[in-house]
């Protein structure tokens, strides 16, 4: 998976709002963008990880892998996580939550992400949950909207 716009599995996007409108005052207004997030609103991976972890624990602890249910489950999970993250007050952040669920069958899996972004403001966190029948990878990317 590469760069910002490409997401495949159960991804859900949330876009920070309002910024473009503010600038619409054409030539008259000053620019409204900020280059760095306010410290309190900065994307904090540890907090996000906790959030993801709790969600995964709630949802997946006793889950069994079944190919029919998984698409819904991934979507639901990604929405849940995204909503939670939105509530956490990361203003001006575009949150991208990706959820992948696979069956545990002994096969090897390697999953990596590559981001073309501003490493100073943007960040990501991922959490892996495993039980006997499935593994679930949740990656949350926070891209700052300047």
């Amino acid at each position: 998976m590469a760069s910002r716009p490409s997401f495949t599995v159960g991804a859900s996007l949330s876009l920070g709002d309002g910024a473009p409108e503010a600038e619409k005052n054409a030539g008259e207004s000053e620019n409204t963008y900020i280059l760095r997030p306010i410290f309190q609103q900065r994307f904090r991976p540890s907090v996000v990880k906790d959030c993801i972890h709790t969600v995964l624990k709630e949802e997946l602890t006793y889950a069994e892998y079944s190919p029919e249910e998984m698409p819904q489950l991934t979507k639901r999970l990604s929405e849940t996580v995204k909503d939670k993250l939105k509530d956490m007050g990361f203003d001006r952040y575009k949150m991208v939550v990706q959820v992948l669920i696979g069956e545990q069958r002994g096969e090897g899996v390697f999953m990596a992400a590559r981001c073309f972004w501003d490493a100073d403001t943007d960040n990501y966190i991922h959490d892996v949950f495993m039980n006997d029948s499935l593994f679930c990878v949740v990656a949350a990317f926070g891209c700052f909207y300047y």
């Binding site: 002994g106 090897g108 899996v109 390697f110 990596a112 100073d120 403001t121």
Partner: protein, 1041 residues
């Protein structure tokens, strides 16, 4: 500039002119034209937004078209495919015509505004020119970017125009062609977009940022948001203009060399675009330029623009020109053509959008058809005419181009037709014009928003850094091997896996599973041979065996010592088990003794030999020597003529320790006083013989007797035959060691030599007394080194022997013993000699006259010269034995041949006591003090009786008497030790007539000393009843004297 190139450009602009003329003809009003153009140039803000919105929505379509053109360029580098382009031209033209008419009124409103704005724009441009040199590079890229956008927009317009034309004129052929184009565009759409992006980001990373930022500033300065678009165009123009100047010079060469090169084409394309714009502006500003090249281009541009803007003055001429230009189009590059057209169409873009924003295929509306039908018939006709003309022209061009590039064009044509055939059905329904203001405004809005975002992004991109910093590994789940998978599933049934580990904290597998390797090695300390250590390997063992060094003498000595120890232990064991058996069965023990044992005289070489005498060592009490007579029967020739001496250890009664042989008959013997390693003996021949018992047995004579090998030691030194001047000439009666204890006492500290002699145990002399009264003193000398070969000087020394006797002095006792009244008896015989234990200078000699002579070695005078018996006068009574008390009392016993026992005090001439009748007249042959009890002495008489005296118990006679019979007693000696508290013993060694020697251990009452026995004895001696007896006797005897 090459003429060809120049011409191309000119041609291009002529082509444009042609179009203008066409419009002019169609519309019939040049004013309208002008209006349109102006409107395009000076867009209203609303229009801007619309434009952007549309731009956004139509992206794919636009891109597709644009790309198609790019693809065409690729395919036909120099010039090709006149069909598509030209057809499109026509469509556009026609469409515009129709639209123009509809929107004449709308545009008229804006005309005045535009005029005003043109002035301000001119100023802006000037400013920009100043900055140009600085930002040349940025602009290059930015310009290109803009061009792309605009092109896309143009294409959009084209599309719309096509549709309208279709609806209006319903020319099916054209529609087909258009559709064919579309299909190609769709194919190449993606590729093109990708290229665009690459150019934007990849090629010019920094420049766009700066450019956009700069541009925004510019905008802000003007405070005219609606001019944003226009500004862009100006910038574009200005920026590209310079570049064009630069590149135009190159262009000639480039074109001649390789017209197909994309990069140059792009530049050229840009240049043309630029030029066109510039011509517009220049025209407006009336700025004249000197450059020939520019002028040319300007000229052409002005031509075209004048056509558009001002009047129709050239009407007729231009119509002629159209033909020329059409011809020239062949030479012109397709890029240029298309670019020009696009540019022109762009001018009308806004109009279309305002008029008929939504003309998608999906929104196909019958109304549009109606509208097109509403157009005046005359116009329609005109349009058709123009179209025909264009078609004809196209055909001509097609022919020419196919002639030039038959292959390429043919292929292309074929492709196009095929595509047409395929796509025609889907495209047929697209027609009609529908003006939807709401959608259009929406589109406009979104477009403007997109622009905003774009500017915003470019501004921001300048400030921030984007990078692929890391590749995040989200999940790395290694494949599970078969066994683990099995285990994972295994546990899921009714079983559960658990592991238990011994040695819990020690998880290393190796520790538990592998055996410990062991190896046996040995080492020896101190290392005496070459090999001091070895291992368990076989090779080592064999090595050890090979290297083993055998020290035979050392081994033999060790074995000898070990044998002795073992033998002693065995004998002791045997002895311990024996007594009861001996007592009961053999009845060897006497009633005076507790137990007894018998020395093994059954040895073959001792058989038939009588014991002549016995002697016990004074220091090593368990050592006793027995002297054996010649055998009664012949046994062995080598031994028959010799006398044997056996040294016994009474604890080892099974055999003698040493067996000595002597040539002559031994009459007396004694051990060295401190250590019993030397045995001295006197013979009947008057010689003194010494045996050194330490000698190695190997230098002596071996005799194999039965199974045993016996060593018979010959004397180490013998005085036989040597020292004849001083030697004894008669049989030796006694031989005594003379301890030099007196000297020792005196010089104990002073003389270092004395200590050395003591150490060697040789600090003594030997006194030998013979019958004739000669007392010889011998000094025992130990040679420092043994000489196996024998000594030349020391005659009588055994080869290899180290002990020899040196004659020290001789004492003639004959003189002192000679007294007047003894003449009758002849020469006095000396029978025994004893040295005073406390003072070895003094000695007493027993004679055969019943007298005991007292003498000193230094011929000093002594107070009692003679010790006399109680009986006065001289009687022929032999004083056989004399014995000093070993307990320091200066008293001695004398046993006489008449059976009397006298107890003398050294200070007194007369005896303290004399017992005449204790033995009933039989001669006393042995008399010895007990070594354990001061008051006890033992006596033997010739009648084979043993008497035990205990003076404390009875001073009148023996407390016990034991008759030894029937085997007569021939010799007796006393041995005993009181040093050890529990180990003290008193034993009698008794030699029988049969040749046996047995040891009788006396009863405890005579062995254990009584408390305070010394003082009691002393008291007894001082105040004893013997004085009275002595007095009485003396009185009784006195008559004789």
């Amino acid at each position: 500039m090459e003429p060809g190139k120049r011409r191309t450009k000119d041609d291009t602009w002529k082509a444009e002119d042609l179009r203008k003329h066409l419009w002019a003809v169609q519309s019939g009003s040049p004013k309208e034209d002008k209006k349109h153009r102006e409107k395009k140039l000076h867009k209203d803000p609303e229009m801007d937004f619309l434009e952007y919105k549309e731009h956004k929505y139509r992206d794919p379509d636009r891109d597709a078209r644009h790309r198609e053109r790019a693809g065409e360029r690729d395919l036909y580098p120099s010039k090709e495919n006149p069909y598509g382009e030209r057809d499109r031209e026509k469509h556009r033209e026609k469409r515009k015509d129709t639209k123009d008419r509809e929107k004449e009124k709308l545009k008229e409103k804006h005309r005045e505004q535009d005029a005003e704005k043109s002035h301000s724009r001119g100023k802006d441009r000037e400013k920009e020119k100043d900055r140009r040199p600085r930002k040349e590079e940025m602009r290059q890229t930015a310009a290109y970017h803009n061009i792309l956008i605009r092109e896309a927009r143009d294409r959009q317009l084209l599309d719309r125009a096509d549709k309208k034309i279709r609806s209006g004129s319903k020319v099916r052929i054209e529609e087909k062609e258009r559709r064919e184009e579309d299909s190609e565009r769709v194919d190449e759409d993606r590729e093109r977009r990708y290229r665009e992006r690459k150019l934007q980001y990849g090629d010019n990373k920094d420049n766009p940022l700066k450019f956009w930022l700069y541009k925004e500033e510019d905008e802000r300065r003007h405070r005219k948001p609606r001019e944003v678009d226009r500004e862009k165009k100006h910038q574009e123009k200005s920026s590209t203009r310079e570049k064009r100047e630069k590149h135009l010079k190159e262009k000639g060469n480039l074109l001649t060399d390789k017209e197909g090169e994309e990069r140059h084409r792009e530049k050229r394309y840009r240049d043309l675009d630029d030029e066109r714009h510039r011509s517009h502006t220049e025209r407006k500003e009336r700025v004249s330029k000197d450059e020939h090249k520019k002028r040319e281009s300007k000229h052409s541009r002005e031509d075209s623009s004048s056509v558009r803007t001002v009047t129709q003055r050239q009407g007729g001429e231009e119509s002629v020109e159209i033909g020329k230009e059409a011809n020239d189009l062949q030479n012109a590059g397709p890029d240029e053509i298309s670019a020009n057209f696009e540019d022109d169409f762009e001018d009308y873009e806004d109009d279309f959008e305002v008029c008929d924003g939504d003309d998608d295929e999906s929104n196909y509306d019958p109304d549009s058809q109606e509208k097109s039908e509403e157009l005046p018939l005359a116009q329609k006709r005109e349009i058709q005419e123009i179209q025909k003309a264009i078609n004809a022209e196209n055909e001509r061009i097609g022919e020419l181009s196919s002639k030039r590039f038959p292959k390429q064009s043919r292929v292309e044509c074929e492709k196009q037709f095929q595509a047409d055939a395929n796509n025609s059905p889907s495209r047929t329904p697209v027609c009609g014009i529908f003006v939807d203001f709401a959608t259009a405004s929406h589109r406009q809005k979104s477009r403007s928003q997109a622009l905003k975002q774009k500017t915003r992004s470019t501004k921001l991109l300048r400030l921030i850094d984007l990078d692929f910093s890391f590749t995040f590994s989200l999940l790395d789940l290694p494949p599970v091997n078969e066994y683990d998978m099995y285990i994972r599933n295994f546990g899921k049934k009714n079983t559960k896996q658990a592991y238990v580990q011994y040695n819990d904290d020690n998880v290393e597998r190796d520790v538990q599973t592998e055996d410990i390797e062991t190896r046996e090695v040995w080492t020896q300390h101190p290392g005496e041979s070459a090999l001091v250590s070895g291992g368990s390997r076989d090779r080592d063992i064999s090595d050890a065996a090979a290297v083993l060094k055998i020290d035979t003498p050392r081994l033999s000595s060790f074995l000898r010592a070990a044998c002795q120890v073992v033998a002693v232990l065995l004998e002791e064991d045997r002895l311990a088990a024996k007594p009861s058996w001996q007592l009961t069965v053999e009845d060897n023990s006497l009633h005076v003794s507790d137990s007894s044992c018998q020395l093994n005289t059954d040895l073959s070489f001792l058989q038939n030999r009588k014991v002549l005498c016995l002697h016990a060592s004074q220091v090593q009490r368990q050592t006793v020597v027995s002297v054996h007579d010649l055998p009664g029967k012949t046994f062995s020739p080598s031994l028959d003529s010799r006398f044997l001496l056996c040294v016994w250890d009474i604890w080892q009664p099974s055999g003698p320790q040493k067996v000595l042989i002597c040539e002559s008959k031994v009459t007396c013997c004694c051990f060295s006083p401190f250590k019993a390693f030397l045995l001295f003996s006197g013979t009947v021949h008057g010689s003194v013989v010494v045996w050194d018992l330490r000698e190695d047995s190997r230098i002596h004579h071996y005799v194999r007797l039965k199974d045993c090998l016996w060593t018979f030691r010959t004397p180490t030194f013998s005085t036989d035959g040597i020292l004849t001047s001083v030697n004894h000439r008669s049989s030796l009666q006694a031989i005594e060691p003379v301890a030099t204890s007196v000297y020792k006492k005196q010089s104990f500290v002073l003389s270092p030599f004395a200590t050395q002699e003591e150490m060697s145990g040789l600090s003594f002399h030997i006194a030998s007394l013979d019958e004739s009264g000669i007392l010889n003193m011998w000094v025992v000398v130990e040679l420092p080194k043994a000489d196996i070969a024998g000594s030349m000087s020391d005659l009588g020394l055994l080869p290899g022997g180290r002990i020899k006797l040196v004659h020290s002095s001789v004492i003639q006792l004959g003189n002192s013993l000679h007294w007047k009244d003894s003449e009758f008896w002849g020469p006095t015989q000396t029978l025994s000699v004893k040295f005073l234990p406390s003072d070895s200078n003094h000695f007493i000699v027993g004679t055969d006259l019943g007298l005991i002579s007292h003498g000193t070695r230094q011929d000093l005078r002594v107070s009692p010269k003679l010790f006399k018996p109680q009986q006065p006068g001289i009687r022929p009574v032999k004083v056989n034995v004399i014995d000093f008390s070993p307990f320091g009392e200066s008293i001695f016993l004398a046993g006489c041949s008449d059976g009397s026992i006298r107890l003398h005090q050294l200070t007194s001439e007369w005896p303290l006591a004399q017992w005449d009748s204790s033995t009933e007249g039989s001669a006393i042959t042995s008399l010895q003090w007990s070594p354990t009890r001061p008051a006890v002495f033992l006596a033997r008489d010739a009648a084979s009786r043993v008497y035990v005296w205990d003076l404390l118990e009875s001073d009148l006679g023996p407390v016990a008497t034991q008759l030894i019979s029937p085997d007569r007693l021939v010799a007796m000696t006393v041995m005993g030790e009181s040093d050890k508290a529990g180990g003290s013993f008193l034993a009698l060694a008794l030699a029988r007539a049969s040749g046996t020697v047995d040891i009788q251990y006396l009863k405890r009452q005579w062995t254990i000393p009584k408390a305070d026995e010394h003082s009691q004895l002393h008291l007894l001696l001082q105040e004893g009843p013997w004085n009275m007896e002595h007095c009485s006797r003396s009185t009784r005897v006195s008559p004789y004297t």
